[in-house]
Every structure is written in C-alpha cells, then in structure tokens.
Amino acid sequence: MASLTPSRATSAAAPSGPVARVRNHDRSFGDTHVLRSVDLDIEPGEFVALLGRSGCGKSTLLRSLAHLDPPPVGEVEVSGRTSVAFQEPRLLPWRKVQENVALALLNSPERKQRFELAEQTLTEVGLTDKLDAWPLQLSGGQAQRVSLARALVSNPALMLLDEPFSALDALTRIDMHQLVIELWRRHSMAILIVTHDVDEAIALADRVLVMDGGRIAREWSIEPRRDDRAPSKPEIARIRAEMLSALGVHPTPANPNRKAVHKQGAA
C-alpha cells in the first residue's frame, strides 16, 4: 500500500503501487462543481498529460495533487514527494538563482550539500553560468528552466507541471520539451503536465487525459516512441483528431473559394 507521508527516502526507490491515487474526488467552490468524482492513478515513472479547456478543472486537480488546496481526507493519496512548476516561474526575486533552487531542499540539513545539489541541477538544465544571477536578470525561458530545476532538485516522486510552457515563444517551447523529456528519462520520476496544447500533450506524454466539466472524459495511450510522433503519422493524426473533437474543437473545413483562386492562378 502506498504510504501517506511524503518523504525523500520513498521517492528515490519507487514503492510498489501508484505514486498518486485519486478516488471519487469532488471539489466545489461555492455553487460551482469544479471536480466531479475524479478517479486517477499515476504509476511511478509515468508521464501523464492532462488536457482541457480553461475552467475544465485540470489545474484544480493538479492543486489537489500538490496539496496546495488540501483535498478531503482519503480522496487524494500521494506517496513520495511532490513538486510543482507553474505557468509563471514564481522565483523569489530577492534570492540568487542557485539559492532559489537550493531553497527547495531546505528540509535537508546541510547548507553546503543543498547548494551543491542546486548547482548540479542547474547544470542539468543548462544554466551553469547563471548560478549567481538575480531572477530578474533572466529571460523568460531561462527563468522557466530555473523553475524546472527547483522542481527537480528535491528528487520528487511526482513532478506536477501546470501549463509551464504556455507563456514561452514557440521555439523556446520546443527546447523545453526536449529538456523535460531528457530530465524525465534521467530521473525517472512520474510527471503530470497540465496543458491546453494537444501537440504538447502528444509530444511529451505516455498517456493523455481529456477533462471536461470536472470529469476525466477520455483517455489515450500514446504508443509510438517520442521521436516517432510526427503529426503526419496516421496513428498520431487519428489520436490528435480524436482529442480535438473531445475538446470540442472542429477543424475548419477547407475553403472552396481558395482552391478556385489557386487553380486560376496556376492556369
């Protein structure tokens, strides 16, 4: 059985059973039901994407898993340590980059070790030269890397990513996808990423869940290897179309006039 108490020791050696177990989880604020009897298991080392429109409850579910809004007893059990990277980097502007990362280790006693681990992790995200920088001196992409390092450094069993790349430009986002996959492979923690970007979900996750109206509406396993998920691949194209349809997005039909113009031009 999964233990209820989070601790660093259990996170490294993955315990048997899911790392997170959500059962019949309800959540309402005032009169609005945000989550309705959600069930979800996340296995150790699994990469799950939670996809949905704004207000579908996906961020609320993440906050329950992170215990940021403590859920009712028994509905959400997480074994091992969690960490979160948010949409905004949320660094402490008055602490240097290395210290920002080291702060996530405050529960371990030795200061020197905290700073060494922080340096190692910042090297992993490619920011060796920014250890001594102030957060306000970083670009958006760099700040988000620090935020990832901060989530990673405590060696979590479950890393929660709340739309972490949606504020970045498209090229930086691709770099960040690569980075997250590398980090995930190296550290083999479970990741739950909340996003509204279908392609991001397909590029990153093993399993994609679409949420709608506070429920998990549909679920896909993505079997192809991560470097073999081109949108042109029929299997991926099919999954992508299904996801969009589950999200209530219907691709615009081809414009017949445009074709005519093209023919005219060619003639």
């Binding site: 992170a66 948010f86 502007p93 008055w94 405050l106 306000l136 405590s154």
Partner: protein, 243 residues
C-alpha cells in the same frame, strides 16, 4: 556642479547684505559669523556634547517606536485575528497629530527624558507600521504558493518570502520614520531641558544669539540628511536584486 551655483549665490548675496548693513544682526547673522560661531562651539566641545544628547534621544525613540511598529505590522500582516485587533486602532491613532500629544506626555511623564523619547517613538512607529504592513500585504501570493509547493514550513516561508518581500517597503518606512523622528525631536526639545541641541537653541534665544540658533538648526538639518543618506545606502545594498 551647475546645481550648486544658485545656493552659493544666495549665500554670497546674504553675506553682502549683512556686510552692507541691510540686515539687522539681531534678525539674522552673516554666514561668516555663523561659521565662526560654529567653529567656536565645536572647539569648546559644546556642540559635540549637545548633539550627542539629541542623537541619543532620536536613536532611543526610533528603536522603541520602530520595534513596536514593526512587531505590530508583522502580527497584523500574518494573522487575520491580529489584523482585526491591531489595524483599526492603529488607523485611528495615526490620524492624531502626534506632535500635539506633547502636552499630554508632559502631564504624564513630567519634564525629563521620558516625554521626549515617547514623542519620538510615537512618531516613528506609524510609518514603519503602515509601510511594513503594506509590504506584507503586497507580497505576491503566487510566490508564497510556490514556497508552499516546495514544502517550506511556515517559519521558512516568513524568513525567505515574507521578510525579504516586505523589505523594500519597510526601508521606505524607515526613511519616513527617521524624518518624523528628527521633527519630533525638535518639538520635544522645546520642553525645557538642560541638555541637547534644543537646550542650546533655547539658551541662545534668551540671549538673542541668532548665530547660535542658526548653528543649532543647521546641525538638525545635517543630522537628518546624514541618517537619510545612511538608509538610502542600506536600501541600495539590500535591494540589489531589483537591478
């Protein structure tokens, strides 16, 4: 450099008007006489001794008032009950013109050091209270939430998020408190006293020594400027992260 031209010109004109006999020496002394008096007062040790007494009053009042203001702000800023209990009376008290309380303090504490230090403490308390409370309330809740997501304890959150987050405003409050402390000192020292810059000025008034009065005022001004510069320097050091 160009910003010094007009102040120097004013002093030169002032000097010339005095030398030409256009200004009655009982109304205002010439800059040269004032400088001479200052040198004399420094040499015989009077100015140093009196300044030290005044400085002690300000420091003591500032420390006591600042400590009270800061503590109340921290309690009000961190707990809802504290906020409900502390903030309403503080908001009412702060509208009192505290310098007017001097008569009350004299009836309570007599003519010694206590009413003076109390008046300074009372004045210094509010800017630090208001600014620190504003600083704590203004802390980005998202950053606090990030600290919680890192499993920091309540105490660690205060140390690494709340205090440094409120510091810029607290330092602004400190500068305002210092300004008010000096002002309160000047008023407090009009209470008959046997030492301090106010004593020097009161005595000079008895003997119509305008030059000594001006020297006393100049020292008040210089002390105010100096302490303000010290806090500004502190601000630059402590807030380097805002670069």
């Amino acid at each position: 450099m160009r910003r010094w031209v007009s102040p120097i010109a004013i002093i030169v004109i002032w000097q010339l008007l005095c030398m030409g006999g256009f200004i009655d020496p009982r109304t205002m002394a010439a800059p040269s006489d004032i400088a001479q008096t200052a040198v004399g007062l420094i040499k015989d040790g009077t100015l140093g001794a009196e300044t030290l007494v005044s400085l002690q009053r300000v420091v003591l009042g500032l420390v006591i008032g600042g400590f009270i203001g800061l503590s109340l702000a921290v309690v009000a800023g961190l707990s809802r009950i504290g906020d409900d209990a502390i903030d309403p009376p503080m908001q009412m008290l702060r509208t009192l013109p505290h310098l007017g309380l001097i008569s009350l303090f004299i009836t309570w504490f007599g003519l010694g050091e206590t009413p003076k230090v109390t008046l300074i403490a009372m004045g210094a308390c509010f800017p630090l209270y208001l600014n620190t409370l504003g600083g704590i309330r203004g802390i980005d809740r998202k950053v606090l939430e990030a600290a919680r997501s890192m499993h920091l304890t309540h105490r660690q959150q205060i140390r690494h998020v709340v205090i440094p987050g409120a510091l810029p405003q607290t330092l602004t409050g400190l500068r305002q408190s210092l300004g008010i402390a000096w002002l309160s000192l000047i008023v407090a020292e009009t209470i008959p006293t046997d030492a301090g810059l106010g004593h020097l000025i009161n005595e000079a008034r008895e003997f119509l020594q305008v030059d000594v009065i001006v020297v006393g005022l100049a020292v008040y001004a210089a002390l105010g400027l100096t302490t303000d510069a010290i806090v500004r320097h502190l601000e630059r050091k402590a807030l380097a992260w805002r670069a």
